[in-house]
């Protein structure tokens, strides 16, 4: 022991030196450690260090946040000067945060980012839609109608009210919708916890999404980029419906089950139904004199039976063409930068006559007009057109009409006019979906938007910057919808109608900030204080006419309509004024502290409750910088522990909750006192009861996270564990109707809790002499939502989703918002003896009907036996993105999945249970109890097909596992070699082929487990929506 110490001592010596970085000079705060020991020192303000090393074999490791770690063997040296280089890839990455930027390594809040590269992977046309699977803790569901918005939630469902996050685009609060060109985006930051979102005060509670668009770089030569993508989209799923002959059998099966006479008008009176040749004349055979085309008249709309059966999905699905073109030029002189872009996208829907077009223009520039003054601007102009029937969700949408209409009905009658449910008896009340889509083909929703900002930034003294930004968002939409007469439909619409909607919104915001950034030795302080004023106004005008001399789309204008002159309108305003501040302190890049406070005043609340203060604190500890970690740097490149607490608000309860108002309404407050058939005396009605005592919802979040990078930054792992508590949740407490019937005000009464974790995992490396570059990035998120209070009534619940007199989901204390609510089905009664031994349910219980569980054990079945039967919230959602690149070739695969969420396939109420006389599923005929096709009734998967409304009550029979794993996208690309491109002066040319939605693994029986619902109340309730399409595309990106 003594000996060995002696030897060590003998070889021990002191090494000194200076650490500098290229272009930066001396670097203080660099860790200098002896590998494999706990010996270490830190560079001083002048970048110098001094430490004793055990011997010549010792290896000195120089590490500092933001720089590539460097290792040097001491050998015989006693002075070792080191030049370290910035680690641009990971640590110097700048992340956009509220009213500023931070180094990624210094973040203390829960913030995730999406880069422009990641935005390119997805083929979805909306910017928000492209975030799907890229960010842990964020749920994104895309609408599948052309140009439809995506739906996004951050960290579960933060409130029973509007839980959309706040979007800020280049400092201007505004929702990107489908009008922002994803190609223009440089980066997206998602502020997930309150410690990072509190700086947005009353609006930050549901997360903040900061979108930054591309700018040029100073001194950069002009880069011209052209990219295009062309392809096709197809809807790939259909319900498995009965054909015409099978449907006829189902009609008889139902009559037999009900014990009523078999309808014979169409199908005869034989032992098997026989399909007629004609529907109009009812049930006619070929040769019937009334089928002679010369007898065609409005009362004899001769219509053949489609004996083969119309596959309505084949009729409305098509191959939609997709085209996207983007051109951008960016660059800069030493004192100014510019980025211009123009884009065009045309996305035809996978349903006939549906289309979305987008034209975008953008100009972002900055100029350093003086050494101390920079001015700049962002400006975008967008024009979008949605055309055709965009009804996506619910029983009136074309996709639903396609299952609601019977297969025997042809698309057209013998003269080529549309056929429909009026062409025969008991054809139900569906619309011919081909007619619907065709008639609505020209209907449009045009949206023109201009938004952007102008700013000036002045450096008062070094480190102190004053910035003033004025932003605006102006949009106007013009919608024209014609509703043509549909005489072929059972419930025909008799006139040609026109509806015109115009709206206009203008919002401006003015932000003034004073920022300070100063390093004192090992201490770095950055701070920002500021004010923001926002004002927004919205107006809309609606008008309509009916009865047109000619029903061409162009002729049908407001001036040419002859009857039913209608018009109405709406207007609203809100404003917000705020003061805010944030201080960051960093000790040596190792200990990080952040404090935030914002004070908001909002017009949405009465004077006495107008102002609120939102604080947040967070801290980070870069453990890998500690001396004691010195020996682990070859394994642990970076390790940071962070945690934060903060409070933010949600003010989305409409603009006028504090006012009691009276209004006029043609139907509800007016009356024809004079006795004429068209005159109304206008009266007033109470519209809303106000509440001056209301204030915003408060959400406080606790977030603890770990950021690590291992094995020389090849493996990264981040985890955040969070809890969000929403209190003073705004709720329209039900008032007894004796107190008056009008809109009840919101009151601050509810509480909600969300807990969860987000994991982001990445691995990237090189192999085969760096020729193969590969990476895998995965996200995994979990949240659990709990309503902890709704009102003072502990039993209060909200019926969140109802369809056709049946309630599907509820929100109640102790459950998630929302959860499915209904009966529990314990199989199907097989025998009368089984029925007799079972608690009665009125007269419902008979063999072949559902055996509903006596949940409350009171020996009878009734509405009080309904209970919670499943949650639409997933236990886990995740995405995975795999990249391989080899010598110019690359492959990219994106998976997205959801696990543990339940869905209610409401469509089955129509196609399995026969809500109305419409199309039916194969199961209804072949697998329902009592079907002649069943060998054994015990094998029945459906109850007796007799359209008993109690069978159709919501029950566990409708609840399905909605879990899925989907290959969202597969892309193969090739970067043409420079050697080739150099000859033709092309910097870069990349060609690729991309396919989306190639593979889905799910047990869900509906069209698409990735069901889009923009309303959280109907979460998981599949009412029949356009399914996700499969797209095959070819693209190229060219830079000069």
């Amino acid at each position: 022991m003594v000996l060995s110490s002696g030897i060590l001592l003998a070889q021990e010596r002191t090494v000194t030196g200076k650490v500098t970085a290229e272009g930066e000079g001396a670097i203080p705060g660099v860790n200098v450690t002896v590998q494999g020991t706990t010996i270490g020192a830190m560079t001083g303000v002048d970048g110098t260090y001094s430490l004793k090393v055990p011997g010549p074999a010792s290896v000195l490791v120089f590490s500092s946040v933001g720089y590539v770690t460097k290792a040097i063997t001491v050998g015989s040296q006693t002075t070792i000067d080191v030049v370290i280089v910035s680690d641009i890839k990971a640590l110097q990455e700048v992340v956009v945060v509220g009213y500023g930027t931070r180094l990624r390594a210094e973040l203390t809040g829960s913030i995730s980012t999406v880069s422009s590269e990641e935005m390119k992977i997805s083929a979805v046309p909306t910017a928000i839609g492209r975030m799907q699977g890229q960010v842990a803790g964020v749920t994104v569901v895309n609408s599948n109608t052309p140009g439809g918005d995506a739906f996004i939630r951050v960290h579960g469902m933060g409130t029973i009210n509007d839980s959309r996050p706040l979007y800020v685009i280049d400092g201007v609060p505004s929702d990107p919708g489908s009008s922002l060109n994803p190609d223009d985006i440089e980066s997206i930051s998602v502020l997930k916890d309150a410690s990072s979102a509190a700086i947005y005060g009353t609006r930050g509670a549901n997360g903040v999404i900061l979108i930054t668009t591309k700018r040029g770089k100073a001194g950069e030569k002009p880069i011209i980029t052209f990219s295009t993508r062309i392809g096709i989209a197809n809807a790939i799923n259909q319900y498995n419906m009965l054909n015409a002959q099978e449907y006829a059998e189902s009609v008889w099966l139902r009559a037999d089950n009900q014990g009523v006479t078999r309808p014979s008008a169409l199908y005869g009176t034989g032992s098997k139904p026989v399909l007629p040749d004609y529907l109009t004349p009812t049930g006619a055979k070929e040769g019937d004199p009334n089928t002679d085309p010369s007898t065609y008249s409005s009362s004899n709309v001769i219509t053949k039976a489609n004996k083969a059966g119309t596959n309505w999905y084949d009729e409305i699905y098509r191959t939609g063409k997709i085209q996207e073109y983007d051109l951008s030029i960016s660059g800069g002189s030493p004192k100014s930068t510019y980025a211009f872009s123009a884009g065009y996208a045309d996305q035809q829907g996978s349903l006939i006559h549906t289309d979305f077009k987008r034209y975008t223009f953008r100009s972002n520039s900055d100029a350093k007009v003086a050494a101390w003054l920079t001015i700049g601007q962002s400006l975008s102009a967008t024009f979008t057109v949605k055309q055709g029937d965009m009804g996506s969700d619910g029983e009136a949408s074309p996709i639903s009409q396609a299952y609601r209409i019977q297969p025997i009905i042809p698309v057209y009658d013998i003269l080529g006019k549309f056929a429909g449910t009026k062409s025969g008896p008991n054809f139900g009340n569906a619309e011919n979906p081909v007619a619907q889509l065709t008639r609505n083909a020209n209907n449009y929703d045009k949206y023109a938007r201009a938004m952007g900002n102008f700013f000036a930034e002045a450096t008062i003294i070094k480190g102190l910057t004053l910035k003033s930004l004025f932003g605006f968002d102006f949009g106007t939409s013009d919608q024209k919808r014609i509703n043509l007469a549909n005489p072929e439909m059972a419930e025909a619409h008799s006139n040609d109608d026109l509806a015109i909607d115009h709206n206009y919104n203008l919002q401006w915001n003015w932000v003034n900030t004073l920022s300070y950034d100063k390093t004192f030795g090992r201490h770095r302080i950055t701070a920002v204080i500021g004010t923001e004023a926002i004002s927004s106004v919205y107006t809309e005008e609606n008008a309509g006419r009916a009865v047109y001399f000619n029903n061409s789309f162009d002729y049908m204008q407001l001036n040419s309509g002859e009857a039913n002159q209608t018009n109405s309108g709406y207007a609203s305003e809100w404003s917000l004024f705020s003061e805010f501040g944030r201080v960051n302190y960093s000790l040596n890049g190792k200990y990080l502290l952040e404090g935030v406070v914002r004070r908001d005043g909002s017009s949405r609340f009465a004077k006495s409750n107008r102002y609120g203060i939102f604080p947040a604190v967070s801290a980070g500890w870069v453990i890998s910088q500690e001396d004691f970690m010195a020996g682990t740097h070859d394994v642990i490149s970076f390790l940071k522990l962070k945690g934060g607490w903060g409070k933010s608000g949600n003010d989305r309860i409409g603009n006028y909750n504090s006012y009691t108002t009276f209004g006029v309404n043609k139907i509800q407050s007016s009356y024809p006192l004079d006795g004429t058939t068209s005159g109304l005396t206008t009266g007033f009605q109470p519209v809303q009861y106000g509440n001056e005592n209301v204030t915003w919802e408060k959400t406080s979040t606790l977030d603890i996270g770990l950021d690590t990078r291992l094995f020389a930054n090849t493996l990264s792992f981040g985890i955040d564990i969070w809890q969000r508590k929403t209190s003073d949740m705004l709720y329209q407490v039900q008032k007894p109707q004796v107190a008056g019937v009008a809109d009840q005000p919101y009151v601050n009464i509810g509480d909600m809790k969300n807990t969860g974790f987000d994991i982001e995992l990445g691995y990237s490396n090189k192999a085969m002499d760096d020729k193969l570059v590969y990476s895998v990035n995965a996200t995994l998120s979990h949240y659990k939502n709990d309503v902890t209070k709704l009102s003072d009534n502990a039993n209060e619940f909200i019926t969140t989703a109802s369809e056709r007199q049946v309630d599907y989901s509820r929100a109640q204390i102790g459950h998630a918002f929302p959860e499915f609510f209904g009966y529990v089905v314990d199989g199907i009664f097989q025998t009368q003896a089984e029925v007799d031994a079972y608690p009665a349910f009125g007269t419902y219980n008979i063999p072949g009907h559902f055996k509903f569980r006596d949940v409350n054990k009171d020996s009878k079945i009734d509405a009080s036996d309904r209970t919670y039967i499943g949650s639409p919230h997933p236990k886990l959602t995740g995405g995975m993105n795999i990249n391989l690149a080899y010598s110019g070739l690359d492959l990219n695969v994106v998976f997205y999945g959801s696990y543990g969420n339940k869905m209610i396939n409401y469509v089955r109420r129509w196609i399995d249970y026969g809500q109305f006389d419409g199309g039916l599923s194969k199961d209804a005929l072949y697998k329902s109890w009592g079907s002649t096709y069943l060998k054994n009734n015990a094998d029945a998967t459906l109850p007796m097909y007799d359209v008993d409304p109690i069978t159709q009550q919501n029950s566990s029979a409708f609840v399905e596992d909605g879990s899925f794993l989907r290959m969202k996208s597969l892309q193969v690309g090739y970067n043409l070699p420079k050697s080739l491109l150099g000859k033709i002066n092309i910097e870069n040319l990349y060609i690729y082929c991309q396919a989306t939605n190639l593979l889905t693994i799910t047990k869900y029986s509906g069209l698409d487990p990735e069901y889009f619902s923009s309303d959280p109340e109907t979460l998981g309730l599949d009412r029949g929506a356009t399914p996700t399409s499969r797209q095959i595309m070819f693209g190229l990106r060219l830079s000069l």
Binding site: S264, A265, P281, T282, G283, T295, S299, P425, N429, A490, E491, A492, H493, S494, N495, N512, T531, A533, G544, V547, A563, N564, G569, Y570, A571, S572, E573, F577, G601, K607, T661, G663, N665, K666, Q668, S669, Y671, L673, G675, T677, S678, G679, T681, T682, G683, F684, P686, V687, Q734, P736, Q737, V738, V741, D743, Q805, V806, G842, Q915, P949, Q953
Partner: protein, 577 residues
Amino acid sequence: MIIAFALSCSEEFLTKAPLGVTSENIFYDAKGINALLTGTYAMVGGKGDTYENWDITWGSSVTNWSLGAVAGGDAHIGSTHTDQPPANEIEEWDCQTTNGWVADKWKWYLKGVTRANGVLKVLKGTQGLTPEQAKEFEAETRFLRGWFNFEAWLVFKNIPIIKEDTPDATLVPNNVDAMPAIIEDLTFAMNNLPDLAQQAEPGRPTKYAAMAVLARAHMQTLNYAAAKPLLESIITSGKFSLMPNFMDNFDVAHRNNAESIYEIQRAINNGSTDGGSADIGTGLNAPQGSDIGTCCGFFQPSQDLVNAFKVDANGLPLLDTYNQVDLKSDMNVNSSDPFVPFTDVVDPRLDFTVSRRGIPFLDWGVNRGNDWIRMQSNGGPYLPAPKFFYKKAEKTAASPSTGWQGGVSTNNFRYYRLSHVLLWRAEIAASENDLPKALDLVNQIRNRAKTGPRVMGLVTTYALPSTVYPFNLNIDFNKPAANYNVQPYTSFPNKDYAMKAVQFEMRLEFAMEGFRFFDLRRWGIAKTVLNQYAKDDARTARQFLQAATVTDKSLLYPIPQTQIDLQPGVLVQNPGY
């Protein structure tokens, strides 16, 4: 500096009052009170939704077509069996406390009452009205409040009475007899409302309207003594007379006629594709598909009702035996197969009340049977018409144009008319054994039916496939559509017979108009009559009333459970629920 500037203007900057609406303080003058009062009138027809435009609240229709007519055995719910589950509960006299249609009625009555109270509150605080103005406003408002409360009393009986000065409406119990308050309001209205000649606008009530509603309230509690002078006053006033034609009480052309005492006014085409003040509450009740193309095939008359129109050789109804044998129907007969309508002799009012196969339906053509019915196996072979439906020629002017709502029309609902008053008075006469008086009054009604027009057009084409244009047939428009006969009674042998005859006449004259269930209840015969009806209905190859029974509980509808939950310990559920 910027901060200071921004702070100084922030209060003004942050004050944004709502646009396009107003606050209560502008209503404190005659114009304002009239505006609030008009908003209260908007409720008389039964709009149960909160305040939105087109409300889908079928249970709250003031016609009581479901709660009164269907539950009274005049009709089935109709349509398909899965269309409206709450309606099935009403038809089967088995309402759950969660029944949405019943809940709509509750919400509607309170919507009306609280709007009326809002008017009275403002009225009390308004200076500068003439005493006449103030009295007229108060009388009209209290008429409306009495109206809403009485309609709710009919359905629930046990209702809280909320007044304009009730300190906390949520504490008012529903176990105090509501009738005195109803009578008080209607009496005030009666004593202060103007006479017919002074009431310029037919939508506003006269003193006779108040008298009629008040008389019905007394009839409903069998307080004949109180009802009698009121009915006498109306009859002897000389202001009202029976219209010559039974159908004058139902067609659009004869609105607000000489027989009419109070009508629910309806208008459309007033700037709304949705039907303006027309009654969406009956919006499901038009024929679906086929030649008419409206919606939704609800409210199909029962075989029992059709049978009630049978007459004997003397043109008199079969008071006790009418329902022993069914008149022939086309149940389960395809439209393309021949069906000869029955030739039995019936009261001509049948084909004004019920639409059946082979009989012309206004100007819409000949009812082609099965093809005109949404689903015979559910609702039976009949349609409600033409009493409540508009003529084809009137369609553009009389109904909104939008899809399924096309059956809603501008036709007024003649809720109270002289014929009601005459038959109520006859009921009192019968109870007093004043047989000549009862006979005279009943015969006034029957004589009108006798001398009035009939449905014309004898159809001799019996197969009615979809190819026939429903008027392009062999029809003899000089002949009545069926064999009709109706004669006055020659005498009433005794009090019981007279009472039975009066009750039967009410059914025939007011069939499908929502009175039946409440009439059977006040006469104390609801359980007997309706249980027999349910039993007999099984003959008609419909399945759905086989297991249904009327119990004591079914006589009142349940107080909505959601409201009891919101007012625990204050609202008490009706017995048996």
